[in-house]
Symmetry: C2
Subunit: 293 residues, 2 copies
């Protein structure tokens, strides 16, 4: 089974980049029975520039229509085509599993992001959560996996590891350890599953399902009128109820959450999304029914 | 008494920038008896680019020899000369007080940085700490105030307000409130002191005095061999004792603090200092004797 672990898809998310360096120095850390594991540095140009990306977000470029359009040739569009040739092509990949490592400035803890809902994905979630109870499972199944532009969708299977809070351009020891632990568990699972040696798994696993992203209130000139209310700060995946404060307007007013049921904000105040004026994403709490082995 | 409040000296430290906008909409928030308060956007080019700076750190350019050298003409060197003409000139300024607003990604809380040790500075420290017990007083008197390149040294007096943790390019409601509160207290003090109406102040105030900055251990190729140990993370101004873990080497070893007495790290893992591989700065705890009014 061929596995590729990607770090540096965003050039200023340093945990994955440092782990690649560590693993190149100690490849045995990635070795698992039945797996052939290699590493890939996602966006070395952005890393050298100490930036998330230079032209466009690399982790949104892996859509078939973008990959097929040769007129799209900026730095990340070109890099995506090379990666697609190297570990894809998307839809017909020779790589069985792509694990893409990310950091967030939000307090999301160690989060496993699934973009598919196959039995394999749910079994993986159960295995990771069982061995790492602090792990958060986030399912992004608002559309089929193939329709996401994420790098991890280039493989036959793909998942993302998203750990925070960590400021851009910084390495945090605790965050790096969480990322290494979660990545190791994914490799353990892939090895065991491949060999038919999976242990008995819990029949259910708690998770969050992405619904949508909320944006800051803006004025007519495109300037934010408010910031995220302090009651949300650092409280990713806590419950936000209708009527709870969500925004603090700069003129002193408070904006409340106008949803019709309690939901769970995450990517709260994520620095990378600031240009788009995203305030937070919302998820619903769900229970995944884990198929038997 | 003429006061200038500066935000955006670093273009991705958004609290001061947002406060300038708020105060321009509600100038009465800055008004104090006896004070003429204006605002200045430090580095609008860097703000538009969502970066700390474009060519060099603006907050290191306010040295007489740099300001006098017309051959130094990059974006921040030029901007420094304009600011020096506008609210200086350094050493002969018409501005009585410059308050420069900064954010840090480190967990330093609301910190008042003094670059001088006059009775006025110590009385200010006592006043701020009395009204805002969570405030931290940090004295940077390793050299005379005039020999720092900080923007705030352009005025007859200058102080910095440094509040964190806040990721670059993000606004945190709680951090913004702390910055507004501390800035308001500095203006209150300046107004009362100017009028001879200062209340009785505590005779002593707890503070930290900057000693030096420690850097990550590096290899011969200039790459870090370690990261800051997780026991320090988020623990700015806590005590670090000789023999305590300070660094986690990527090969698994732990590097201990080799000082000869307990000291207090701050600017721990500051994102803006990552290019220089600074790990943290160290301060000693001191008690400032506050002169009577």
């Amino acid at each position: 089974m061929k596995v590729v672990v990607v770090g540096g898809t965003h050039g200023n998310e340093l945990s994955g980049i440092q782990l690649l360096k560590n693993w190149q120095a100690s490849p045995q850390q990635l070795a698992r029975p039945g797996l052939s594991v290699s590493t890939l540095m996602g966006n070395p140009s952005a890393y050298r520039a100490n930036r998330r990306y230079l032209d466009v977000d690399l982790n949104r470029q892996f859509l078939p229509e973008l990959l097929a359009d040769d007129s799209l040739a900026n730095i990340e569009q070109s890099r995506a085509k090379v990666i697609n040739a190297q570990i894809g092509p998307k839809g017909a990949s020779q790589i069985d599993l792509v694990i893409d490592l990310h950091n967030t400035t939000s307090n999301m803890g160690p989060t496993l992001i699934l973009v598919d809902t196959t039995p394999w994905d749910y079994q993986l979630a159960a295995y990771v959560k069982h061995h790492m109870p602090e792990a958060v499972i986030l399912v992004e199944d608002a559309k089929p996996a193939a329709e996401w532009g994420y790098l991890c969708t280039v493989g036959k299977r793909g998942v993302m590891v998203e750990v925070g809070p960590q400021s851009q351009s910084v390495l945090r020891h605790d965050i790096l350890e969480q990322m290494a632990t979660m990545t190791g568990l994914i490799l353990d699972f892939a090895s065991l599953e491949q060999a038919g040696d999976l242990p008995e798994l819990p029949g259910e696993v708690e998770a969050y399902r992405f619904i949508d992203t909320h944006y800051l209130p803006m004025d007519e000139q495109g300037e934010p009128l408010a910031m995220v209310h302090k009651s949300l700060e650092q409280n990713d995946f806590c419950e936000l109820k209708p009527g709870d404060p969500a925004y603090q307007y700069f003129d002193g007013r408070i904006g409340v959450f106008d949803g019709d049921r309690p939901l769970h904000p995450h990517f709260i105040n994520e620095a990378a999304y600031y240009d788009s004026h995203a305030a937070f994403s919302l998820a619903e709490r769900v229970t995944l029914n884990v198929p038997a082995r």
